[in-house]
């Protein structure tokens, strides 16, 4: 049995990416955090050692719970209409940029929003979640070729959107301590291979 404090370390390293992914599936940040809470608790109960090989299952849990919530939300919104809180939460930023990156973050966030849901999901899982196409295919129930194709189309679309504003985009390497796109227990090259 893993020590009780281990979950915190794992959670701190994975939660931002998980919430980012959940936000592609549900409407508000609050909803996304609810989804991540449920998914992480379920996952940790099942895998209390926090083994990195089970992390794709955590994303799968996020996906399942988020889609369930989205379905129920759709029914609820149809019945009741959107609340003010929900509408306000939709505009919460998905990224936490460095001060010099704020404009870049806004541009990229808008570009991502223009992608289809499927393309955005693959990009989020691959670039920020660090999952391989094979793992994403397993999560979404699609073939690897379909996932690779979606990713390629997504990059092409982002390329078209971002090239005209390339001069305005500022790239900065995140500090090693906040390397968000590196899974906690595996190397980046291993994950992205």
């Amino acid at each position: 049995m893993a020590p009780a404090f281990d979950w915190k370390r794992t959670f701190d390293q994975l939660a931002p990416q998980l919430v980012l992914y959940a936000r592609q599936l549900v409407q508000t940040k609050a909803d996304a955090e609810d989804v991540v809470q449920m998914a992480f608790v379920r996952w940790w109960r099942r895998f209390p050692d926090g083994d990195a090989q089970h992390i794709p299952l955590l994303y799968a849990a996020v996906r399942t719970i988020a889609l369930d919530q989205r379905r129920s939300d759709n029914r609820r919104v149809t019945r009741e209409g959107k609340s003010d809180i929900a509408i306000a939460g939709e505009n919460a930023p998905c990224f936490d940029p460095q001060p010099e990156q704020r404009e870049t973050a806004e541009i990229i966030e808008n570009a991502l929003q223009d992608l289809s849901k499927e393309q955005r999901e693959v990009v989020t899982l691959h670039l920020w979640g660090g999952l391989t196409f094979k793992e994403i295919a397993a999560i979404s129930g699609e073939s690897i070729n379909t996932i690779a194709g979606r990713y390629r189309y997504a990059l092409n679309n982002l390329h078209k959107k971002l090239t005209p504003v390339r001069d305005e985009l500022v790239t900065s390497e995140p500090p090693a301590s906040t390397a968000f796109n590196v899974l906690p227990f595996t190397s980046q090259s291993e994950v992205l291979s």
Binding site: A4, W7, K8, F11, D12, A15, P16, Q17, V19, L20, K29, E33, V36, Q37, F40, V41, W44, R45, A92, P93, C94, F95, D96, P97, Q101, T104, A105, I108, V123, L127, W128, L155, L158, H159, L162, T163, P164, R166, D167, L169, T171, S172, E173, P174, T178, F180, N181
Partner: protein
């Protein structure tokens, strides 16, 4: 003309953006939920040692008590037969270690043999009753139920009065 992005460059640009930090409440909520789990795990409550055969014995005893009450009420209005057509089989526990729980008699057939007169000319109604006597035993070691059934045939003599 602006130079195009190369794919790795675009990927690096996207990756350079850190996902927004989660709210502190989220971590607290997860911690609370997991702590609840740990509190459940740490509770080493011993399950009470339940005697597996206790419940069936209780129900069977209730049934037996009811049967005895019914039989005693029924037999109070009857004259016990002078003799039965078959010798009474002495009922003993089928094997050592088991405990008797109940004995239930069921009447399958009642045959009216009419009114006969005794030597001193007193009328008596003779009734032949066929049935089954069921004995229930329970082995307390494993809760196994043992049911032994005996066919019974009784000749009852009921008092008759003509008024």
């Amino acid at each position: 003309m602006k130079p195009d992005f190369h794919a790795p460059e675009l990927e690096n640009l996207l990756r350079s953006l850190a996902p927004a930090a989660v709210s502190p409440e989220l971590s607290s909520r997860v911690e609370e939920e997991l702590r609840l789990d740990m509190s459940w795990l740490s509770q080493t409550t011993k399950r009470p040692h339940t005697v597996r055969w206790l419940a069936p014995v209780t129900y069977a005893a209730l049934g037996a008590a009811a049967a005895i009450a019914v039989m005693s009420t029924f037999s109070s209005g009857l004259t016990l037969p002078a003799s039965t057509s078959q010798p009474t089989v002495a009922v003993s526990a089928p094997q050592s270690g088991v405990m008797p729980v109940s004995t239930i008699s069921e009447w399958d057939d009642v045959q009216d043999e009419g009114i006969r007169y005794t030597a001193d000319r007193m009328p008596q109604k003779h009734v032949r009753v066929r049935g089954t006597e069921r004995h229930l035993y329970i082995d307390p070691r494993d809760g196994a139920e043992i049911i032994v059934e005996y066919p019974r045939e009784q000749s009852l003599v009921l008092p008759v009065s003509f008024q």
